[in-house]
């Protein structure tokens, strides 16, 4: 997936993707969103979708913050009654995609072969071709979808929209086994396996 890591800036902030497994409950989106807004933290991208398990929902939330802040946010989210589990990851830990749509005038596209080449080089795909306009789609990282905006701008880009990020955690083996633990009245250690509860060398040892 190449060059996907935004390196950590001097202020310690970097991009984190928070993955939240939840029950499918009205109002939960608000409950989660206000955890960010209360602390005046901007959500860069938010996606809700079904997960690999029926009835379990999955949120992907992207923020630009320090790890300490993200850890605290994650704990606050996990505290919500209908939230099963929260993970947070840097871009290195995940495979992620965003989709973008671009509407451009068809006549210009048709006339200028260079445009066609540029589109092909950027992995764009025509979704709709009409006399008056054509809609292209690309899927990829922010830099990739951004790059195509710049390219299309001189050719009269009419409309642009980008989706929220969806991400898969490289190391995750899914949620099925964990859910079975959660369903037990006395869950096993499995459920406390928790990145921020294990502070590694920071834990005091004698």
């Amino acid at each position: 997936m190449g060059n996907q890591n935004k390196t950590e800036k001097p202020d310690g902030k970097q991009e984190f993707t928070i993955t939240v497994y939840t029950e499918n409950q009205i109002g939960l989106l608000n409950r989660i969103a206000i955890i960010f807004t209360r602390r005046k933290i901007n959500i860069h991208s938010l996606n809700t979708s079904p997960s690999e398990i029926e009835s379990i929902h999955r949120f992907n939330i992207v923020v630009h913050e320090t790890e300490e802040v993200v850890r605290k946010l994650s704990r606050q989210i996990e505290k919500q009654v209908e939230v099963l589990k929260v993970y947070y990851n840097t871009n290195e830990d995940i495979i992620w995609q965003e989709m973008a749509l671009y509407k451009v005038p068809t006549d210009i596209i048709a006339e200028k072969a260079s445009v066609e080449r540029l589109l092909r080089e950027n992995g764009a795909r025509a979704v709709v071709i009409r006399k008056d306009y054509t809609v292209f789609e690309t899927t990829g990282h922010r830099e990739e979808t951004d790059a195509l905006i710049k390219i299309l701008q001189p050719f009269g880009l009419i409309e642009f929209v980008r989706s929220a990020r969806v991400a898969i955690i490289k190391k995750s083996d899914g949620f099925n086994r964990k859910l079975r633990e959660f369903e037990k009245a006395e869950p096993g250690d499995e459920v406390i396996e928790n990145e921020y509860l294990n502070k590694g060398q920071r834990i005091f040892t004698m």
Binding site: G27, K72, V81, I192, F204
Partner: protein, 578 residues
């Protein structure tokens, strides 16, 4: 025919009866052991009140004078009884009047189930009469909330509400029920209490490696210091805590909400933490080598300036809420779990010890504080009356057996500093939110939560005027609470800050009072006002011995300041004695 058969045959084989949603709610409350409801009726909750008409024998509904009074009463009840407080309110203004109490209960972890009526489901979102988006308004100030639009949801939702409110770190739950669901008839198959929700883990699993690390750290410590909070009380772990303190021999100090978990006069109880806490506990926070924080959350009123807080110490933090660990203070050893379980596990691993020299340091600071502050506050020889001497005289009479409910301000700090507590669940105050107007309604609830005990509400002249309408509740329901107004004719705590930090610029803190004795009389409550030192003891005695509610106003000196004080932005070791 078909319909009839359907109603009679129940797939689960449980016998069902057809009831309205309203009846189902009341039946569910009874199944949860609800004894008292604090509430106020209105259009959108009328079906529930209509059903309540037939349940007068089984459920004691107290008609309050304002929904804020209702919810504070629910809080007072929960705090003294350890049970879930139950509150009813109607939609719109009834529901919004609950918000302050919800915020207060949220930050002070008080278990409540509030039931609000809502407009018919088909009117939701139409700006119907008395429609407000109660779920969204209350989301940040509830542990959980839910809107019921179909009566069949009632048994399950109410059982979840009680389970969530009281388990783990307790908190307020609000259930909003549309009017159609209250009226709707359905087959009620009985009530099953909830004890598991798959997405909710009220108690983190205890990890023994951390208990071991904590014990090792404690066993090595030279100057360990215990800070305890309300978690000990909420976890009903007072006995486990006492055994831990006594075996460890470690000096222990409390947050305002932790007061009373072990008696005030316990030899290892070294006093109160925080902005107006005791001298030794504040200063020595920056001298100890290991802090054992139990069921407390390092509030900024406790820590003062964070970057100068206990930097030299290793921190062991016991808490049931994992999000509290490292929230404000970096923990060395986190001990997640219910302290009723973690404390005995820790006690088993620690050596029996005592720290006479270290304890002596606390005593030396105490001596300095007595000389500089306490002596003059509790036993002034001349001049106008002090709040401290009133509380001191009260102690002499109650001998630490009373429940003390306080409002917010100088009198609160004085009462919490000087009141003696022999028993747990005896100090009811608005800690985290600092809600003026809390005390009078909370005292009403506190009395229902502990009917055998004496309840004294210590209130300022400012705060009393915020919720004094609840005198009507006290009158109508013949509630025996003792109301002690410490009248300094000022919004004293704000005045103190203006004196100390705003160069005496007293901006809108001068507050007039009505004739409180006449006011009490209007509500058929016996009252008295005093301003002479010689009258304090006898009047308090008269108040305590009086059968029924009693209002005693004590005119105290106007411009007294509460000390010691950790000024905002200062370190705990920069605490001022004057």
């Amino acid at each position: 025919m078909e319909i009839e058969q359907q109603a009679l045959s129940n797939p689960s084989g449980v016998e069902t009866i057809e009831v309205s949603g309203s009846v189902a709610i009341l039946e569910a409350l009874i199944s949860e052991g609800t004894e008292v409801i604090f509430g106020y009726p209105g259009g959108a909750i009328m079906p529930i009140y209509d059903a309540l008409y037939d349940y007068k024998e089984k459920l004691n509904h107290i008609l309050v004078r304002h929904e804020q009074g209702g919810i504070h009463a629910g809080q007072g009840f929960a705090r003294t009884s350890g049970k879930v407080g139950v509150v009813f309110a109607t939609s719109g203004p009834g529901a919004t009047n609950l918000v302050t109490g919800l915020a207060d209960a949220m930050i002070d972890s008080t278990p409540l189930v509030c039931i609000t009526g809502q407009v018919f489901a088909h009117l939701l979102g139409t700006d119907a009469f008395q429609e407000t988006d109660v779920i969204n308004i209350t989301t940040p100030v509830t542990k959980w909330n839910y809107q019921i639009t179909d009566a069949t949801e009632i048994p399950e939702v109410i059982s979840k509400a009680f389970y969530i409110a009281r388990s783990g770190r307790p908190g307020p739950v609000l259930i909003d029920i549309t009017k159609n669901a209250q009226i709707q008839k359905f087959d009620y198959g009985g009530y099953t209490p909830c004890n598991h929700i798959r997405s909710y883990r009220p108690k983190p699993i205890i990890r023994n490696e951390y208990i071991e690390q904590a014990a090792a750290l404690i066993n090595q410590a030279k100057r360990p210091f215990i800070l305890w909070g309300q978690g000990v009380i909420l976890g009903e772990a007072e006995q486990e805590f006492k055994l831990f303190v006594e075996k460890s021999g470690i000096p222990s100090a409390w947050t305002i909400l932790g007061a009373g978990a072990i008696p005030t006069n316990h030899p290892l109880n070294v006093g109160m933490l925080g902005m107006h806490g005791n001298y030794g506990p504040n200063v020595l926070t920056n001298d100890c080598d290991v802090i054992i924080a139990i069921g407390m959350r390092f509030d900024d009123r406790v820590t003062g300036r964070l970057d100068k807080y206990a930097k030299q110490a290793k921190i062991i933090h016991l808490d049931i809420d994992p999000s509290e660990i490292d929230k404000n203070v970096q923990t060395t050893v986190p001990v997640w779990g219910d302290c009723k379980e973690t404390l005995p596990a820790l006690t088993a691993l620690i050596q029996k010890k005592s720290y006479p020299e270290w304890l002596q340091k606390f005593r030396e600071f105490e001596k300095k504080e007595i000389e500089a502050v306490i002596q003059e506050e509790l036993n002034p020889k001349s001049g106008e009356l002090t709040m401290g001497e009133v509380i001191h005289q009260l102690n002499e009479l109650t001998q630490g057996e009373a429940i003390i409910v306080t409002d917010v301000g100088q009198h609160q700090m004085v009462a919490c500093r000087y009141a003696k507590f022999n028993n747990t669940r005896s100090n009811v105050t608005s800690g985290g939110l600092g809600t003026m107007g809390f005390a009078l309604p909370a005292a009403i609830g506190a009395k229902f939560g502990a009917p055998e005990r004496t309840v004294v509400a210590v209130i300022g002249d400012g705060g009393f005027q915020m919720t004094l309408q609840e005198l009507g509740t006290i009158m109508q329901s013949s509630i025996d609470v003792k109301i002690l107004i410490l009248n300094n004719r000022f919004l004293g705590m704000v005045r103190q800050w203006q004196e100390l930090f705003n160069q005496h610029r007293y901006s809108f803190v001068d507050i007039e009072s009505p004739d409180y004795v006449a006011l009490a009389a209007a509500y058929k409550i016996k009252g008295k006002s005093i301003s002479e030192r010689g009258d304090i003891a006898s009047s308090l005695k008269e108040m305590l011995e009086y059968k029924g509610s009693y209002l005693l106003e004590v005119m105290v000196t106007k411009e007294n300041n509460v000390f010691p004080m950790v000024p905002q932005g200062c370190s705990v070791s920069e605490i001022r004695l004057k």
